[in-house]
Symmetry: C2
């Protein structure tokens, strides 16, 4: 029996003025969340009810997928993270602390190491594999720029799962089961989402998928088509549509371009189109411990370098834009004046496929304030390797033959075939069918639980407040006696609460002695799927049902209410499926 | 459908040799828990199933008590803890860390401050009160001596709840509801426990209760009687049974007692009974900021000082045994030679009631190596205040008229009327019925969730392994086909799993192709209430049911199994109630 007068729902007329995202604004105004510190939130009772419903859906789907729940500590010994190499690699995002005896710990942002350790000490034979374990847990990440409420915070709840297999077939079985479970979870939660090809580093193959919910405030660019293709920008490719230019090669000339440091400035100074200018960027590729290789990447002036594609081509550990000092050392100029002409063999030169068809390009002259015009491949400069090193652009043709579209997305899930990296480093081996010791092959799987609330709110909220899909709404029905001081209205509210509760619905009764306008506004803010208003017609046994999502209202006799609620909630669920 | 071959249950023949507690040993051996670091544990799938059942019971009872669940972050700004004064007071037990911008945080061991802050900013009027909020959350405590497995760890799950009221009646209402909920929870979990009066500091009154589970490894001493009296040692009192001694006061004499620093040494040196010697202990009582009062406490040589009682009498913030320097400064001797004779007015003298009836006592002479004999109250020394300042002893008569017994106990819960301390410090006020701003009156309530597993295991485990009450057992029934290679046995196991699952029971099937002895031993270790063995008589449709707790076995036809399981589980639950 949930009475609004006794539950903590501190609704507000206004959100702080610096709040940008709709989900953030409405969750604060509706009394769902409270900020304890920048990026650190408290989930008030309504938000926590939503979280619990999401958790329940996750648990049911993990059960079906044969995964077992367990729980790791948040406090993890630094030693374990040093063994995996992530203690350094994770950088400033990792919270570090020491205990009273100066032993060092980190607060877990993910748990690959600790699961690998437990499995290493627990499983000795392939007979127990494949095996999937998961947890629903608060994670910690020292975010540089926490924002959008609980969308990007320093402490947040995640589902993180890990599969262990003795062979590739076992890994694939677990991966496919998890992929199916993830689809089921996001479907049931009522999210619109795209499954996108994600970059999987140097491993290659289709072994990584992201689940992304389209939303204006999403921080990822999703590349997709109406044909079903979807990839993130790092991974997306398009059909090559370059046409060989046919002009005669002209004489290479050096021209002064004072103050022209960008492609656009150079284009204006030289009076040519940006697409005819070579964008030349020098990177330092980390090939190993203290082993850095300078790499010059060339592309059309109107294209963007895709560092992930370059990284994968080079097979390097890390790729950084060269410092001014490195640019001066290897090319003798500032970054705004670099180009390929005259570059020595010590610098590797990669060029995007679209460069191959250009004739008489302009490029930096490796001499501050000067550009070359009429530069041509082979005649004037060397290219070591052509390839796809650029970001795709909207309108290009995707591999599926359809034109590419862009949208912003919130990453809500990620599944990934990890391989044996952690197993090797931590010595997690099992005996395979042939009695040989082999490294366990891992997969890792994650869903942002609290972030999912933001995603759902972004997709569904309107200017009046939140709108929850019934599957995760804090309550199914919001019962509002217009005047709680009138005994007959409160009696009817209590009766209706009883009826609906017995029928299996969760009901919140607004028993507050507030004005009707305040109660209706709060109801819209809170976003429960159905509102039952008990007003003047209560005497005739008639109430009004309002559908939060559409604003439609219908009058119903009390005797028909349970039935009507069932029909309306079913219709809403069906519509939500149709919308996808 | 839970098959043992695919669930992570790494049973072990041996626990590490340094393991002391039975619960610790058996939880490690049965594959329930894995130590990630000293005092930091991972809960493997079986343990997590038990935890989830405990959580479910807690949620149901909190619901009934009208409390709402929410969730605070573990990362709390240090600033908030400085405001409440606990940043220093909590000492080394508090984990402290800084983020990338050098902002300071603590990892929450409890959450009084943050709940007070949220309520302060959310509730303005008494109309919303009383209100109870709670969370089920991992807590952090930098334990100096983590031990007994998950009984005393650095990261552990707790239920912590907080009530807020506008007046004492509201506080009492919430407190009583929580007390009832706690009793229901511990009853349902199947624990034997005692509700004991706990010290509530200087507030006075019956406003604090501890729930303690008797167990050998318990770190608290519980004082109780068969009449129902129970208190912790700090709080326990007994009926005064002293008899006025009738000897004539003799002449005060100073005697050399070389090398006698303890009561026993003095008794031997003087040839008298320890009960005739005054134990004289000098304390420094902190009355305020930089305000310390020396206090000499006198009691019979065979009694122990109860510092909590002394603290409450003095109303001081803190009580410390005086240093050698302070003993020399105020009494002119070492701590082993102190006494009340000749002590000036600057030292307050408290004496236990049992001192009042003594005649011709011996006591330290405030002169190293000397004692007085035949010291008498008033004639030879002053007493400023008599009172009950000692620990009770076994066999004494409790306030309820029954003889006192001692047992060790594990503190599993605590409820406490906090008052307005936090509200005052953080400015959490509401308007009361008369329109006046008043401090919210708080109560706080806590249950150690993971610790409860240790308590249940301590009370129920035997030399073969764990024994779980059915209400929180990871499964209800353990189905064991003796030879999983035999198709007929596996088929029957699967049939039985289906039948029992449909009847609402949770079933674990040991489908491993291990020897029967291994499977039976593991089954005893894991401690599921009922074991169904499918062996030779399977061909006749007969299985054996074994009750883990008693070891009894019965043969049952498969057709009768569901029925039998229901009856046996009900009997076990009833016995558990009778046992209390």
């Amino acid at each position: 029996m949930m009475k609004q007068s006794k539950i903590l729902i501190p609704t507000k007329k206004e959100a702080p003025s610096d709040v940008e995202a709709l989900s953030h604004k409405m969750m604060v105004r509706a009394g769902y969340i409270y900020q304890i510190s920048s990026g650190v939130w408290s989930y008030l009772p309504l938000a926590y009810r939503v979280i619990r419903k999401v958790e329940q859906i996750i648990r049911e789907e993990m059960d079906k997928a044969g995964a077992y729940e367990m729980m790791m500590p948040a406090l993890l010994p630094s030693e374990l993270w040093k063994q995996s190499g992530r203690y350094e690699a994770y950088g400033d995002n990792l919270y570090k602390l020491s205990d009273r005896n100066d032993r060092e710990f980190v607060l877990g942002p993910t748990h690959e190491e600790s699961f690998t350790e437990v499995l290493r000490d627990s499983i000795k034979s392939y007979k127990k594999l494949p095996l999937v374990v998961y947890q629903l847990q608060d994670k910690f990440r020292d975010e540089d720029r926490p924002r959008y409420g609980i969308l990007r915070g320093k402490e947040f709840e995640m589902l993180d799962g890990y599969s262990f297999a003795a062979d590739e077939a076992g890994l694939d079985e677990a991966y496919q089961q998890q992929a199916q479970a993830y689809r089921n979870i996001f479907d049931r939660v009522g999210l619109k989402y795209k499954i996108i090809l994600a970059d999987s580093g140097t491993i290659g193959g289709d072994n990584s998928q992201e689940f992304s919910a389209p939303a204006k405030v999403g921080e990822d660019v999703i590349v997709y088509t109406d044909g079903g293709y979807a990839a993130n920008l790092e991974k997306a490719t398009s059909k090559f549509s370059g046409v060989q230019q046919t002009a005669e090669p002209a004489e290479l000339k050096k021209q002064a371009t004072p103050g022209a440091h960008t492609v656009d400035e150079a284009a204006e100074s030289l009076g040519i189109d940006a697409s005819q200018i070579l964008k030349s960027m020098l990177f330092m590729a980390k090939m190993g411990e203290d082993d850095y290789q300078p790499v010059l990447v060339l592309m059309r002036g109107n294209d963007e370098v895709n560092e992930t594609k370059v990284t994968n081509e080079l097979g390097c550990e890390d790729l950084e834009i060269a410092s001014e000092a490195d640019a001066a050392k290897y090319l003798g100029a500032h970054p705004g004046s670099l180009g390929p002409v005259g570059v020595g063999e010590d610098v590797k030169i990669l060029a995007d496929n679209y460069v191959k068809v250009l004739v008489n390009m302009a490029c930096g002259a490796n001499d501050d304030g000067y550009h070359f015009v009429n530069a041509n491949i082979d005649r004037d400069f060397r290219v070591d390797q052509f390839g796809d090193f650029r970001n795709v652009q909207e309108g290009e043709i995707a591999p599926d033959g359809h034109p590419i579209k862009f949208t912003n997305g919130i990453e809500i899930g990620h599944i990934f075939k990890l391989g044996t990296g952690y197993s090797e480093k931590l010595g997690a081996k099992v005996l395979d069918k042939n009695g040989r010791l082999v490294d366990m092959i891992m997969g890792c799987y994650g869903i942002g639980v609290t972030r999912m609330l933001s995603a759902v709110a972004e997709q569904n909220a309107d200017e009046n407040g939140l709108v929850w899909p019934d599957s995760i709404a804090p309550f199914d029905v919001h019962v509002i006696p217009v005047n709680a001081k009138k005994e007959e209205q409160m009696k009817m509210a209590n009766d209706i609460e009883d009826q609906l509760t017995k029928a299996g619905y969760e009901v919140l009764v607004d028993d507050r002695k507030e004005r009707a306008g305040v109660k209706f506004a709060d109801s819209d803010l809170i976003g429960i799927p159905l509102r039952v208003t008990i007003g003047k017609k209560a005497a005739d046994g008639i109430v009004e049902v309002k559908i939060r999502k559409t604003g439609e209202t219908i009058e119903v006799k009390q005797a028909e209410l349970v039935n009507t609620v069932g029909i309306l909630l079913k219709q809403l669920a069906d519509q939500s499926v149709d919308d996808k």
